[in-house]
Every structure is written in C-alpha cells, then in structure tokens.
Symmetry: C2
Subunit: 216 residues, 2 copies
C-alpha cells in the first residue's frame, strides 16, 4: 500500500517513539538527539537514526531532531488524525484494565464498545465504554475492524469465528489459544504466561553480565 519498504521491526518501534516525543514536547523540549532518545526508549541510537532515515532526512547534522517537526511527521505517518475504533471482547480483569486505559491520550485508537457474557456486567459503562451482551455482537459491532480478545481460552475459537464473520480485520489476542483465521486477517498474540516463562528461561540460561566500566 504505502511504501512497504520500512522493516517490520522499525514499524513496531514507531508507536514507542511517538509516545516519547509527545512526552518531550510536554516537557517543553524543542530539540532532541538520537542519543537522548536512545536513553529514554532503550533502543540503540544507530537503530533510531536508521529507523528515522527510512522516512527521509528528518534531522539536521550537528543539531539533532526538532521535536515539533518530528512529532508532526509521525502524527501523519501513524495516522494519528483518523481514529480507529476498537471493540473489546471480554470484560474480566484484563479487559477492565483496557477500559480504564486512556488510549486516546497519545493514541489514534479508541475502545468504542465492549462485550461480555456476564449479565451483571451488561448494561454497565466502564471508562465511558458501554458493555453489551456477547449475543448482541452481530447487531452491535457495526464497522469496527479491530478487536481485543480478553476472554477465556475455551471461547476463543467460537468468538473469533463470529468476529471474522462480521468483517473484523485485526485481533489482539490475549488468550493462550492460538486462533485460526483467514489469511487476510492479522492476529497479534500476547500470551502472558509465555512472556513470564520466557523471562524466567532467559534469566536462567542467558545470564547478563554487569559492565563495571562505563555502564552508561
């Protein structure tokens, strides 16, 4: 679509850059170097410069980057202007955490509607988002194209089928289940148990070394 040239690894870092640039601007900073940004987001400064360079020459040699300009550029690139509506499926603890998270603050996304199977939750509004019964998914989903899945693993496949049938294009799946979807639908898996276990594995098998000298 666009220029498919930018690497996926870069694309994943863009939202991160964007948020930190926002912070800088709110702090009143007008310029920033790749080195400073590197300290803040914990990404190598050469990587940051390379990432930015895919979009052209955004900085100035000997000066760094103008925060305002960079931010404006990213706003356009990340489509911060047009808001993407999102549906939340499953209002448990994890789902509720999402509803309280103010994505609008730095983001182009807004949770517009939530669904749950529990009648006690249906009818409530959390964080300004109305909760409907999951049975009403088909009538209520409208043209929302992105869903966050925070339901029990057992339900994942069934609900996914229904979401796909309604024309969902992207799913952020917090379920341990690896859901099956048609090729043209994008699923990102975030598996909390796997993340925790991977961290533990790395701790045991890939010990980090303390750099006594210049540990900047």
């Amino acid at each position: 679509m666009d220029q498919n040239k930018i690497p996926q690894a870069t694309a994943k870092r863009l939202p991160l850059y964007y948020r930190f640039l926002n912070n800088l601007q709110m702090q009143g900073k007008t310029r920033v170097s790749s080195k400073e940004l590197s300290d803040a987001v914990k990404v190598d400064s050469a990587t940051i410069r390379r990432d930015f360079s895919y979009f052209g020459a955004l900085g100035k040699k000997g000066y760094g980057y103008n925060v305002e300009y960079l931010l404006g550029f990213f706003r356009k690139t990340l489509d911060q202007d047009e808001i993407t509506d999102v549906a939340l499926i499953g209002v448990g603890n994890l789902g509720t955490a999402f509803l309280h998270y103010n994505f609008m603050k730095n983001n182009n996304t807004k949770i517009k509607i939530a669904f749950d199977a529990d009648d006690n939750k249906v009818g409530q509004t959390i964080g300004g988002v109305p909760i409907y019964h999951i049975n009403e998914l088909e009538e209520r989903l409208d043209d929302v194209k992105v869903a966050i899945l925070t339901i029990p693993a057992m339900e994942a496949d069934r609900v996914t089928e229904r979401l796909v049938a309604q024309g969902i294009k992207g799913i952020l799946n917090f379920t341990p289940a690896r859901i099956t979807v048609p090729d043209d639908i994008r699923v990102h898996h975030i598996d909390l148990a796997v993340e925790l276990q991977a961290l533990v594995y790395f701790l045991k098998h890939y010990p980090l070394e303390k750099t006594e000298l210049y540990s900047e």
Copy 2:
C-alpha cells in the same frame, strides 16, 4: 551458562511448544508431527523442526515426535521441576488478572506475594496470594528474583530502584515507562498501548493477502 547455542527466537517459543504438547497429551495423543504442531501454534513447521534440532534429534523420520518423550525433555529443559517464585507489584485490574491466572497449571512459576499502595487492598488475599503494603517491600520480598510490574507509569522508576536494591534479577514491565536498570538485570517490556497501535499500523500499511487457493 548452559549451551548458549540456542537462538533467542527459539527460546521464546519453547514455553509455547511446551503448553501445546501438554494439551496434546491431555487429549491422549501419543505422537505428533511438526506439521500438526505448526497448525496448532502457528509457527512454520520447518522452524519447529529447526528449533527442536538444537536439542538433538528428538523425533523419528517418517513418524514424527513422541509426545510423552518430547514433553519429558522439555520439562527438564524448561526447568519445570523447580518452581520460580514471582512478586507482583501493583494490584490494579491488570495485576488482579495475573493473580487469578493459574500459572502453576502448565508453568514453573508461582506468584508468591503481591504489593500495593492501597490500604483497602492490603491484607486481602487474591487467588491465594497475600497482598502487602508497598512500604513493606524491603522486609517481605525475601529472595524472590522476578517481579511483574503493573503499577502507574509515574511510580515505575522509584519502585524499580527499590526492587533492584533488593536483588531482583528480572522484571516483566507492563508500565509504559522504559525503566533503567543495571546491565545484569533483565527487563522485558510489554506495552499494551504500543501493541495496539502497532497492530493498527500494520493493518493500514501492511495489508495481508487472501490466498484463494489452498489456504490450508
């Protein structure tokens, strides 16, 4: 420490494999091919074979892998026998979700203790885990080496310093803040807003194509 030969990308997939092998065993399956496993975990079958091959020849040509044997092997490799204690810092919605998650089921990790700043939560027990006041961190943390950070971003740096001072070695950070730690401490960041925004970005800029033919 061990054989540092296995790639990190492989290491991250091990917990996933492990869980699905467990599922298979519970379903009573005794053998499995890389192809079947691929369908289940959505990882290319060649990648799975390569991953397994780092540990030696675990399968049999023309047959596949013996579920029981593979599972036993992974149990040892992933240290499923010895349990790793974990501390949870911040019992909000996200933190509570973790407390209800039964990590012990397929995992080698157990949340042993939780902390929060809210006096209403202190003293409670959720999912069998006692909640103490964050002020008691130093006295209560004992020799726990892994922490899950689910607190407001504002607090992240301060609490991280205290955790590090107590000898924490690994942090699973759900805070939007990129925390600073000494070199020998491992931090994995999971940034929910970034994940959501990245998904939206990919949807718009990296459209997937529907394979009409043989979309197996």
